[in-house]
Symmetry: C2
Subunit: 318 residues, 2 copies
């Protein structure tokens, strides 16, 4: 029988589910809306039904060896989703326990950035690495940190909040209630804020002056940069300046073998990577110069959300 795992990636808007084999092929996948369910029970009913349909849709006989769940504010130790700001289900949801009523297989739950890190280790560029970081640059900034081959969960199970290190005292307001967190600068939302700051501070012409804040996305900023838009290019430079310094700091603490960048903002390619690499090297403690690589995630372009979640189980049983 073909051994497979079920990967579930819970996002604020959509939840992706997929069946993956050990080689990293997604054999079947589906999606369901997350936030139309005001309570968790009907969501789980639909999730279970769709999962069963997926599993039975696969031609060969399959052996489901486990389920991996990537969720915002997912706590690995407790299998809980804790006060996730983008989900309807408030408080502490014992997700693993609830899901185990439907499935009699091992279930592993963690947050989405940790799932991305394990996905990189099982299926991506971090195979055989024991010390590396995955930084996810999406709406916010998440991090999955692997030390000695193990994800850094810390005492609480919630470690790795690299997006919430304060990088500018008294800086930009953050959703966490504080000011100046890294993710208010280095993320899709962060670079949008930077673009608007630049548009406000300068008289520089820019095609982005025709776009509303809500209408602006990372792709538009990249496209503008490709056309030589000086505001867009400066926005990437500024993002790379802040992110690069903080990655140099992270290298001094973790001495990783690689740092992988992942998520929507990384699709900007060289516009993000070049300044980030430049400022990272400029600020690097000499003993760590040229000891590791800054790389785009090798799951980019693949079904990363599902693979990251599916990888959780392989990582656990191997």
């Amino acid at each position: 029988m073909l051994q497979v795992t079920l990967g579930i990636d819970i996002g604020g808007t959509f939840t992706k589910i997929g069946v993956a084999n050990r080689a990293g092929d997604v054999l079947a996948e589906d999606v369901l809306p997350t936030n139309i369910y005001k309570t968790i029970d009907p969501f789980l009913d639909i999730l279970h039904r769709k999962s069963q349909t997926l599993l039975s849709s696969i031609d060969s006989k399959v052996d489901l060896v486990g389920i991996g769940v990537g969720a915002p504010n997912g706590n690995y130790y407790n299998g809980t989703i804790e006060n996730a700001p983008n989900l309807n289900w408030k408080g502490i949801i014992p997700f693993k326990q609830l899901l185990s009523k439907y499935f009699d297989v091992p279930i592993v739950l963690t947050n989405d950035a940790n799932a991305a890190a394990i996905g990189e280790m099982v299926y991506g560029g971090a195979k055989n690495m024991r010390n590396f970081l995955v930084i996810t640059l999406g709406t916010g900034l998440g991090s999955g940190i692997v030390v000695n081959g193990q994800v850094l969960y810390g005492h609480s199970g919630l470690a790795g909040e690299f997006g919430h290190i304060i990088v500018r005292e008294g800086g930009r307001n953050c959703n966490c209630g504080r000011k100046g967190c890294l993710e208010t600068y280095a993320s899709v939302t962060g670079i949008r804020r930077t673009v608007y700051k630049l548009l406000a501070d300068s008289n520089q012409p820019s095609e982005m002056r025709a776009v509303s804040f809500e209408g602006l996305d990372a792709r538009m900023i990249t496209d503008a940069a490709m056309r030589g838009d000086k505001v867009a290019i400066e926005a990437f430079r500024y993002t790379g300046e802040i992110l690069g310094l903080k990655l140099a700091n992270a290298a001094a603490i973790f001495s990783p073998e690689a740092i992988f960048l992942f998520g929507g903002l990384v699709k900007a390619g060289k516009y993000l990577l070049n300044p980030t690499q430049h400022y990272m090297e400029t600020n690097m403690l000499n003993i760590f110069s040229n000891t590791f690589k800054l790389l785009p995630s090798q799951l980019m372009g693949k079904n990363a959300a599902i693979l990251g979640s599916a990888a959780l189980v392989w990582n656990e049983i191997e």
Copy 2:
């Protein structure tokens, strides 16, 4: 037979050696100068001779189970001392290999801050903890970071350079050749620089105006603060402001069970701890509030340098 380990703490000026049992009693100890030896061989000869004398001085029959060495720029993986700026022996010294010609027991070498962390775990306040940090505030700032019960060595063996995260872009010159490193603010040297900056910027009377930069030590600043010297009190506040914020950032990354402060500056007690605690809490990401304790090392006042090195062996064999 009584099982003992030999702890060797190599400092720029003195090298301390001692014999410790598993309970943390230092049964015999000695010291030798480090930097009068221009090459490593005569140093090792004396070190060996003094160690043998120490071991034979103990009343009961002893079984030497291993030797632990704490050294500046000590690399755990390779057993080497790498380009230590304060030592005469330049380049990469294969210390473990050289020492093993004299002793036929396991030898464990790491840097002094990692030794302090393992000392805390084996003999001090971190017994049974699996996730904690030890921050050493001496001439510089060192860190020993324990994740999942293991010291964070990273890919290179040199991880944990928390003292060299850049906290002020374009800030104070650091011995590493860069600017604005944490240790240029939060260390004995750092607070001396802060005192002198305050004396330069203000007209505030201070008893420290009578002391030269080289003559000023941490004890004088503490004594001045105890007498209400406003410059001394402000220097501790400023040190705590920078250190506290960075410890809040560290907590967001590591989610430790405790952070221990160790070293000369910690003897200032509440003058350092209160502002550090205050600014740490002020800047803490809410999910980590009250999840861990900031504590002085429980090896303070004991023979910490020897115990930290001696602990390396117990940690390895247990």
